[in-house]
Symmetry: C2
């Protein structure tokens, strides 16, 4: 997998015509560049530089105590250990290769491409002073976005396993959860099921799952409370697991039937089918080359055309080793999303589609599916929810 990603890196440098990509890492146990996992899979202690050149050469400059570990991995053409300062080796390699561009991991929009801290950036500037290499810095945002976004078969297969487990756990809710259970009890049930699979949650355990029931003010990033499931309310769960480093992120919605009620009231059905249809329309429009903003608009406008408020977030995000993976986003043109809604989609990317709407006396209706962009369009990774699940 790591070898696969390094091969992909060298191809991308050629595709994007970037001469050099430099990762700057230090004390990984305290704060690690998110991309280190892909190309190295282990941490480094002292200020270190991993350099990948378009021409295919790969070098590491690192503290002497890290040398043997990295040597053993056989990734680099040469490993340069230092005791006092990395300056001489760094300048030596850069002068020899004389790259026109040096891509660094900084991005205001995409956290997955923003692993370079400001302190490490200042260290780098200090080491390169009296040279003009600083003028050649560019952001590696596009490179990392494609490296994380374009999934291999193996990556897709792991994501599918994570989805399978998540949907398996969801399938048990209707029989195990009863009116009167608290959100926390629902979360505890799911947490136990997850542990039975021996898997970690896709994001911090206190909010994975998130459970929301009934009318509320809650946002989507808060954890389950002591609020109880009441008849006549809708409730939804946002949850995912990590399978061999790869995440799922899925939401489902249930309705808690009143005594003697066979079906949800029309207002709930209406809300639910609106969400399903908005997802179907977004899904149909997904294909390489389209911008995320167009996809978001399709779902957003469909929902508001039915008289509901628009959802206060993006329609969908990428998923990979992180449940919120970086790069292109299915989002509106809001300042906080920067340029991410305008990046054309590519085959191999995995997205969530997760619109929602609010029903005054019932609660939040939301579904989150996961889809793969294919060369021709898109395909479902999750078996879509098409009917609201019922709790008796």
């Amino acid at each position: 997998m790591q070898q696969e990603k390094i091969t992909q890196t060298l191809k991308l440098l050629n595709e994007l015509d970037i001469d050099c990509w430099m990762i700057v890492e230090k004390e990984s146990e305290i704060l690690s560049d998110p991309v280190i996992d892909f190309v190295l899979g282990t941490g480094l202690v002292w200020l270190s530089f991993l350099l990948f050149f378009k021409s295919g050469e790969k070098y590491a400059i690192l503290g002497n105590l890290d040398k043997e570990k990295i040597d053993r991995m056989n990734i680099f053409d040469a490993v340069y250990p230092y005791m006092n300062s990395p300056r001489e080796d760094l300048l030596g390699i850069l002068k020899k290769h004389n790259p026109r561009q040096i891509a660094l991991n900084y991005s205001s929009d995409s956290p997955t491409a923003d692993g370079l801290t400001y302190g490490k950036y200042l260290s780098l500037i200090g080491l390169l002073k009296d040279s003009d290499f600083e003028k050649r810095f560019i952001s590696s945002e596009t490179l990392i976005s494609k490296l994380r976004g374009r999934k291999s078969k193996e990556e897709i297969s792991r994501i599918k396993k994570a989805i399978e487990v998540t949907l398996n756990i969801y399938s048990k809710i209707s029989t195990h959860i009863k009116p009167g259970f608290s959100e926390k009890q629902v979360a505890a049930f799911i947490g136990q099921e997850r542990e039975n699979f021996g898997l970690q949650p896709s994001w911090e355990a206190e909010q994975c799952p998130s459970v929301f029931t009934g009318p509320q003010e809650s946002g989507a990033h808060s954890g389950p409370t002591n609020k109880r499931l009441e008849r006549g309310h809708v409730f939804n769960i946002d949850f995912g697991v990590i399978y061999e480093q790869y995440c799922s992120d899925l939401q489902r919605t249930w309705y808690i039937l009143e005594e003697n009620q066979q079906d949800p009231p029309p207002v709930v059905i209406q809300g639910f089918v609106t969400i399903v249809e908005s997802i179907r329309r977004a899904f149909e429009a997904l294909k390489p080359g389209v911008q995320g903003i167009e996809i978001d608009r399709i779902a957003r406008e469909y929902i508001t055309s039915k008289g509901y408020d628009e959802y206060p977030h993006a329609l969908g995000h990428q998923v990979g080793r992180s449940s919120h993976d970086g790069g292109a986003l299915l989002a509106p043109d809001w300042e906080r999303y920067g340029k991410l809604p305008f990046i054309p989609l590519e085959a191999g990317q995995v997205f969530t589609i997760e619109p929602r709407l609010y029903l005054e006396n019932h609660g939040v209706v939301t579904i989150e599916e996961m889809v793969l962009i294919t060369p021709e369009g898109s395909e479902w990774l999750s078996d879509p929810q098409t009917e609201i699940y019922l709790i008796k």
Copy 2:
């Protein structure tokens, strides 16, 4: 604990005469500022700002979906949620309080104070354009160094528990490990013992423990190999556990007796007592106000005065929530350590003391103790190793 750290933050702002400290956070699941654990203990999704003022006010500006979770924590005087952009709230708060300094988390020397990524820094600059707040930026390095360094009773007590478990596990080595065991087998034994305590390793599991046996080239940051423990060799282990978020980091050295040998040969004894004495001398000199470079020099010069090579690393580092905690360092004046060796030590800091030396035909002799700086001097947190442990 978190309330304790927030109270300490406000005191430190007054002590250091810093008007405002601003933490910038985004997508914590991907990359989190290391200090977030101390003041918030949970993650944030959209670009967020946590502001602490010397006057005592505390504010959070964050994405609307994070609002409820943070509201519930009751830390801040006000929480400002946004949907489109945090600009207006951020400028509003800064204009109202008009701080002379705005401390940000960047540091070339100290990774624990370097949580601000370059991309987030650029976002911040963009949001503050048309104001002069950028000119008021200073590094929060000293603030964070003191916040992490000055341990409370509760923090010390957790570290002591982590040390107790580590020494307990070490005490089993002499009876359970035999000549012929591989480094990996020793590591597996320790890993199992650690799991019996239900604790996580202090750093990445593949190198925690590190196990080194016999003559070698290995550095201190590589993992255990298939190399086997041979009679006549010394071997050492570097290991620690995390107890309720707080780490231990300790090394011990063993000698594997030859058949019919009662004691190690004089050359091994000589190396071992040199390490013990260098630690004792460093320990005796530790007190508030002294610079780490002075302490490092005492141990380093003692070892070289006995004819051994100097150790190719620092004498000791702080320990806390990270096994390599930031700030003042017991280190020589090498470029890679920046100004850390010159920061005066303070009471409440926890340091390792970990010199080593190499014996040509036997291996690496090293001990790592943990000590607390007190108002008067220092005290041992770990029961020091004074005799080389023997394997029969």
